[in-house]
């Protein structure tokens, strides 16, 4: 399933990274601690988090994640959005909770990353 399909099914807002929307999502990961994400998330994963600062972009870019879903209506600032656009990282936002997003992803068949 592509990022774009997930955006449509979950009603997410696309803030940055239009070009990344065609990417195939290989699995999912949810956590707010960046070190955990660095340790466990895999390339092509969709990452669900409450964090919205610039280092989210750095982590997503280093791990080559497919997209980041920022939950509970948190909005990244302009600098973060710029960095994401420059790195080609898809930042998606939603007012739903992390748990709600993960539940829906699971229903769509997005598996936990190994």
């Amino acid at each position: 399933m592509t990022v774009e399909e997930i955006v449509a099914k979950l009603g997410l807002q696309v803030l940055t990274g239009q070009a990344a929307l065609q990417r195939e999502v290989t699995g999912g990961y949810a956590c707010d601690l960046l070190s955990c994400v660095m340790a466990r998330a895999r390339a092509g994963n969709i990452w669900v988090t409450l964090q919205a600062h610039a280092n989210v972009v750095a982590v997503a870019s280093l791990l080559d994640l497919a997209a980041v879903v920022i939950t509970e209506g948190v909005q990244p600032d302009a600098a973060t959005r710029e960095k994401a656009e420059a790195e080609g990282v898809a930042l998606l936002t939603t007012s739903k909770t992390t748990y709600a997003v993960v539940s829906e992803l699971a229903r769509l068949g997005i598996a936990a990353s190994a």
Partner: protein, 327 residues
């Protein structure tokens, strides 16, 4: 990203502007000096039209600048020669038949100046002078076309060459032990630029042709080391990557404050990060654990009040030592 690429000296094109093509862009970027023919053939004013005929015939050119005592005094072309031949005046001096008011261009001007000149006046060639007025070359429409084609070719090949050269560096350079050292400065508390050093390192490894799996391990370790320098040091530090054909060593160096109990620091989950840093998602106390998990060897040395040296070594498997394009 805009399809037009960089515009002419400014990043903002006016609304509704027609996208600039690559060759249009190059016409502005390239200098006449880059494309002109240097050390052009010249004649003196006392040269006879019959001698000029031989020069044009032998050199297969259609015109030459006329110099007198090193100064540009005129230009004489094939058309002038034809007129002289018709009138049977092959014994005339070039100085009496040449065009005296010569349109010139400067070597440091954009090629667009020459293009405009050709279009406006219908000239076949333009003498090129430096700012002191001395003749340094000649430019024809053929030079413009050749210059543009060459530049397009060069730019197209550049990235390929970069990548190729980088991936062959360890074969092309002969020594008993070849290594590449990359050093990145990391500034304390600069969370906005967090991850920048590790991103650059990752890109460098990409160019060197590293395998994705290896790249990921190094990137994770480098990111954690970089983050530690940002969060915990007094004045930041250096992130150094030493790349060798069979292994990569990442070292994070700082000058304080140092770690009181190194063994305790290595416990998963042990953290000294203050709350405001935890709220940013850092300080989970897993950085060192992550580095250890990614690297083949990890060493942590620290003295309170002196500084900390963290070293992570990645041994490349035989498979990883081969360039991807060979497999």
């Amino acid at each position: 990203m805009a399809a037009a690429g960089s515009s002419l000296g400014s990043n903002e094109a006016p609304p509704g502007a027609i996208p600039v093509t690559k060759s249009q862009e190059l016409v502005y970027e390239l200098k006449i000096g880059d494309i002109m023919t240097r050390q052009p053939i010249t004649v003196g004013p006392d040269c006879l039209m019959s001698e000029l005929k031989e020069i044009l015939r032998v050199k297969r050119i259609s015109g030459v600048p006329v110099l007198e005592a090193g100064e540009l005094v005129g230009i004489i072309s094939l058309e002038d020669l034809i007129v002289a031949l018709e009138r049977g005046e092959t014994g005339a001096r070039v100085g009496d038949r040449m065009t005296r008011r010569v349109q010139t261009v400067y070597a440091d001007e954009s090629v667009i100046q020459a293009v405009n000149c050709f279009a406006r006046h219908g000239y076949g060639r333009l003498p090129v002078v430096d700012r002191q007025g001395h003749l340094v070359g000649i430019v024809t429409q053929g030079d413009v076309v050749r210059g543009l084609l060459r530049q397009l070719d060069v730019q197209w090949q550049e990235e390929e060459i970069h990548r190729y050269r980088a991936s062959h560096i360890f074969e092309d350079i002969e020594s008993d032990q070849t290594g590449l050292v990359l050093r990145y400065k990391v500034v304390a508390r600069d969370f906005v630029r967090g991850g920048e050093a590790s991103s650059k390192l990752k890109r460098a490894l990409e160019r060197l042709g590293a395998r994705p799996q290896l790249m990921r391990r190094v990137a994770v370790a480098a990111y954690e080391a970089e983050t530690n320098l940002i969060i915990h040091t007094d004045t930041g530090g250096d992130l150094i990557a030493e790349i060798q054909p069979d292994r990569i060593r990442v070292v994070a160096l700082d000058t304080g404050p140092g770690i009181a109990d190194v063994q305790q620091a290595l416990q998963p989950g042990y953290s000294t990060a203050p709350d405001w840093i935890r709220e940013l998602g850092f300080g989970a106390g897993m950085g060192l654990t992550n580095i250890k998990a990614c690297a083949d060897e990890m060493r942590l040395e620290s003295r309170l009040g002196v500084g900390t040296r963290l070293e992570a070594v990645f041994n490349l498997t035989l498979e990883e030592q081969r360039r991807p394009r060979d497999s």
